[in-house]
Amino acid sequence: MNAINVSAVLIIIAVGIIAYAAALLFRDSIRVKPSHGMNTRKQWLKAGISDSLEKSEPIHLNIGIQNDSDLNSGAGLTAMTGVENVSAQMAFADEPWRISCGSAGVAFFEKDAVKIGLDNADYGNDFEEDCTRYCGFSPVLHQAASISMNEGKPVALHMNLGTFGSSAVIQDLAYAPDERIFIAGDDLASQAVGLITADQVMIGEEQTEISGYMSGDSETDPSLLTMDILRFSVLTVLIVTALIEIFGKTGL
């Protein structure tokens, strides 16, 4: 990397840190703007978890990290935090969750996420070593293996986190209509498929906001506030740049 790229990277990280610090300091003053459907999705997710507790049906966490190098991607971190969050919220349930993973490395590290989640909820003694299941690295075979894992057993909510491609549509065929399907994929194919098959889908950067949605005080969550600050800043810059470009070309 040459000097210009290093500077750009460090500047972007610095801007992110400043924005996050500002959100943390002023979180009681700034309220999270409800970006399209945020409140609906938050309510839907909480309803899915409540449903699972009331019906004593587990939540199926389907982690679709296909390459082990993607473990350190945004999707990988989203999957980890999602598992940790669900583990904490569902810790006291009779059959809290089933976790299927498309990567051996993820299956290994997700155990730590489960352990941390249980510890946070003071249920650390309930941790079991075989809480996660490796279901194969091919996206389509992973879906098939995770479906066979759930065969004959009702599930309240299928949370798909990671990278799936179009194979996620198999779930719509395999699962009962009353089983909720939620897709938070970082690849464009799974987002498009989620729009036509899933009950709820996260588009673009929304998939990194899941832990904020599922936290107790999402309206003052610093990460959601920072996302709003950066989101609207980038949008403003893009619109201003486009207007300058248009008026520059027309000579106005």
Partner: protein, 209 residues
């Protein structure tokens, strides 16, 4: 124990900073160190893959015996594993015949699953306007139809009209802009998440009980 975890966390963070530094430093020694670290990580994941496959096979054996779930899927998975293992030891794992057999079976299975994906997508598209329509999904469906029409070539008959031609060019440029927007959003989301965890000790579970 807590001090031990804190010490390990500090080691991990320092390693992460070291790897990041090696990526931006242009130096032969740094390149060698970086390559060594990545090679070590690859070996680690290879071991994890081996352990995960063994764990999967053990659960395939255990689940039907304990009556936990359906036998057929697990017996098939175990039988496939056993068959490839036995043939591999008999013929050698590099045997072209074994590789061809495995590839043939895998291709057949994945092709049928891909066909199921195609059928599923068509069925979901049919069902969407009947049962599951929302503004977002409706917009997606409308956009899909518009772009099918545009790229079908039907509108080529109207390209002499400058307004129609300009509108078509604009519509064709929109998907690329949307993709750029999505990628920028994903990058921002990953950055904010990483900053929250690394610099501000964000806990994904906020203690809701």
């Amino acid at each position: 124990m807590k001090n031990g975890k804190r010490f390990l966390s500090i080691i991990v963070i320092l390693l992460g900073i070291l790897v990041f530094s090696l990526l931006i430093i242009d130096n032969p020694t740094a390149d060698i160190l970086q390559a060594s670290l990545f090679h070590w990580a690859e070996l680690l994941f290879a071991v994890l893959l081996f352990v995960s496959i063994i764990h999967f096979i053990i659960s395939c054996i255990r689940s039907p015996l304990e009556g936990i779930s359906s036998s057929v899927n697990h017996i098939l998975a175990f039988a496939s594993f056993l068959g490839v293992l036995v043939l591999g030891f008999l013929d050698g794992f590099e045997s072209p015949q074994l590789l061809q057999t495995v590839l043939t079976v895998q291709t057949a299975v994945e092709t049928s699953l891909a066909a199921m994906v195609s059928i599923g997508l068509l069925f979901a598209l049919y069902r969407l306007p009947l049962h599951r329509i929302t503004p977002m999904k409706g917009s997606f469906l409308a956009g899909m139809i518009i772009f099918l029409v545009i790229y079908s070539g039907v509108l080529n008959y109207f390209t002499e009209n400058t307004i129609v031609s300009a509108v078509i060019q604009l519509l064709k440029a929109i998907p690329l802009g949307v993709i750029y927007g999505l990628l920028i959003g994903l990058a921002i989301g990953g950055l904010v998440m990483g900053i929250g965890f690394i610099f501000f000790g964000k806990n994904p579970y906020r203690g809701q009980k």
